[in-house]
């Protein structure tokens, strides 16, 4: 075989192999030769500082989903659900049978059950791909802060060895380490109150996730998460999506203190009536 043909075949095989292992790969595979185009800190680590955001509709539904009408008739196209390709490897979330039934029930009761409706803390990995920016603040040689615009949520990723989390929490405990150019974050101590998306995908307090943030270029991160929860799923599963740097001039996190936006919904029936209330219209709602 001529050398150029051999080369082409090897290239094709290797591309096919990569695709077979992980059909959605857009960024580098872990362990790949470091990209010289990656920004670095003084000590040679990838520099992840900046404001990032997922673009896409994973927060609506991690899996393949068509566009559809939203829950409020009067909002027409505004709250209609955008279509999106699956971020789940193989598009299958391996629920145990009872859990598949519960997810369906969650979906049908989305508005009364989704913790996002009530401005509750988003948990992980959902915080990463909500439709709001988040900021990574990487210190010289220590902890890494990820601050999310949504609900003023944040987490400090402790680098190195950490004690087991003392209690379960909404945002869990994040322990980080570098593996080549990938920031690996092991998250444990999550409670069972958060969801993965607006489609009712859920987990138990046995959830354990491992996140991988790998810089692809100065303005693009590859985000992969392995999700395991033996109480809910039959096997670990993976999601992957790109995270983009916000390029807006003067970009900064702004306040999205949404508690204020849900008080009427949560407590309105308990307020003393003055007679001067601005009435709500009787919006027509239906879901699913």
């Amino acid at each position: 075989m001529q050398n150029w043909v051999k080369g082409a075949v090897i290239a094709l095989v290797s591309v096919a192999g990569t695709l077979a292992i992980s059909p959605m790969i857009r960024g580098p595979v872990e362990g790949r030769t470091p990209d010289t185009n990656v920004l670095r800190t003084a000590d040679g680590k990838p520099n992840l500082n900046g404001i990032w955001q997922a673009v896409g509709s994973a927060n609506w539904n991690l899996q393949d989903h068509q566009a559809r009408t939203g829950p409020v008739l009067e909002l027409g196209a505004i709250l209609a659900v955008p279509a999106g390709l699956s971020v789940v490897e193989g598009n299958e979330i391996p629920y145990q049978p009872w859990a598949a039934a519960k997810q369906k029930e969650n979906y049908e009761n989305w508005l009364s059950r989704d913790p996002e409706v009530k401005c509750y803390l988003p948990g992980l990995p959902r915080a990463t791909y909500m439709p709001y920016p988040f900021q990574i603040l990487q210190t010289g040689n220590n902890d890494i802060l990820m601050a999310y615009e949504y609900a003023s949520a944040s987490r400090v990723i402790k680098m190195g060895k950490v004690e087991p989390p003392p209690v379960d929490t909404w945002m869990g405990q994040s322990a980080g380490r570098w593996e080549g150019d990938t920031l690996i974050v092991d998250v444990t101590g999550l409670n069972d109150q958060t969801w993965f998306d607006r489609a009712g995908n859920f987990h138990s307090e046995a959830l354990h996730i491992v996140e991988r943030f790998t810089p692809v270029s100065p303005d693009l991160l590859d985000y992969q998460v392995t999700i395991e929860d033996p109480k809910v799923f039959t096997r670990p599963w993976k999601i992957q999506m790109p995270l983009y740097r916000r390029q807006d001039k003067g970009a900064q996190l702004l306040e999205f203190k949404c508690v204020e936006f849900v008080e009427e919904m949560m407590y309105g029936h308990l307020r003393k009536k003055t007679g001067n209330e601005k009435p709500f219209s009787a919006a027509r709602m239906r879901w699913p």
């Binding site: 040689n141 902890d143 003023s152 949520a153 944040s154 203190k257 008080e263």
Partner: protein
């Protein structure tokens, strides 16, 4: 001169002018025989976990105070926020004891306009009517800036992290991550009215100076009972706050803050207090709104009262 530098200089000049006008100089003297640490990019290093437990009352108490009304401090001693006032703090912290955290005016009393006290009194007397009468803390929105750094008695951890061009303060209570840009960018435009205002920082020697404007008028200057009479005092859109963080030794940041709001206070006033380094302090998630029973229970008590239910005192 670049625009950024010009802006920094302008802000510094304004801050300096404000400082000369009404504030006693900050205690920014760094301890002898101690070399202040620097971050890898050469900035003064404030990083670590800090707490603000104190044995010093917020204000100097006065006979005219009604602590049982706004602070729940029945004996009116103006106690601080350490073990003497909060049983759940069982540590053996050595708490500082001074006359008051308010150091200017020299009386140790915040110069609150009468209307603002009346507003506070009305709101605190009507928390059973509407959630807007609570402070933003009970509503689980925020403790505000600078209110979030005033002592509360628990949940008092603050983690400071730094990257080139930024200082971030993670507040344990109400889980806020306040990110302060240091690149000299201007304040946000006037249409932004934020609960915590808009923070812009710069270094003056080893002192981090943060200038905050752009507040909404829904928040309050302080939220917790430990702030006594100042708790639930409203803030206006003209609130302007200048904070100074100076690490004076390995284990101490001197924090001082000048608060001015010409609609609420007759003159600017200043609080000075230390933040103590506590590397082993465990910051817990403060998922406040997620478990907020105070607001709905208080309101529902009010509606029961409206229907003639006996008050709890008679049961």
């Amino acid at each position: 001169m670049s625009l950024a530098i010009a802006a920094t200089v302008a802000v510094a000049a304004l801050v300096a002018a404000a400082g000369q006008e009404h504030a006693a100089p900050a205690n920014t003297e760094v301890a002898k025989n101690w070399t202040p640490p620097r971050t890898p990019d050469g900035a003064p290093d404030l990083q670590g976990i800090w707490t603000n437990y104190t044995g010093t009352p917020f204000e100097v108490p006065d006979k005219s105070d009604k602590p049982e009304f706004y602070a729940g401090d029945l004996d009116g001693t103006g106690r601080g926020t350490g073990p003497s006032s909060f049983l759940n703090d069982t540590t053996d912290r050595q708490l500082t004891k001074a006359t008051s955290l308010v150091v200017d005016p020299p009386s140790g009393r915040v110069p609150i306009m009468p209307w603002a006290e009346e507003r506070r009194n009305y709101k605190l007397a009507h928390i059973q009517d509407d959630w807007v009468n609570f402070t933003a803390w009970e509503r689980c929105i925020t403790r505000g800036v600078p209110g979030g750094i005033f002592p509360a008695g628990y949940g008092s951890g603050y983690q400071i992290l730094q990257s080139p061009g930024y200082v971030a303060i993670v507040y344990e209570m109400i889980h806020e991550a306040r990110i302060i840009p240091l690149d000299g960018r201007p304040h946000l435009g006037g249409s932004f009215r934020l609960w915590n205002g808009d923070s812009r920082g710069h270094w003056e020697g080893s002192t981090l100076v943060v200038d905050i404007t752009g507040y909404n008028d829904k928040g309050t200057v302080a939220t917790n009972v430990a702030t006594q009479r100042v708790r639930a005092i409203p803030q206006s859109e003209e609130l302007h706050v200048v904070e100074r963080f100076t690490r004076v030794d390995e284990n101490t940041i001197n924090y001082d803050v000048v608060v001015e709001d010409p609609k609420v206070f007759t003159s600017p006033w200043k609080v000075a207090m230390p933040l103590h380094r506590e590397p082993d302090y465990q910051m817990f998630e403060y998922a406040c709104h997620e478990g907020n029973r105070a607001v709905p229970n208080t309101l529902s008590g009010g509606r029961a009262r409206d229907k003639g239910a006996p008050s709890t005192e008679t049961q």
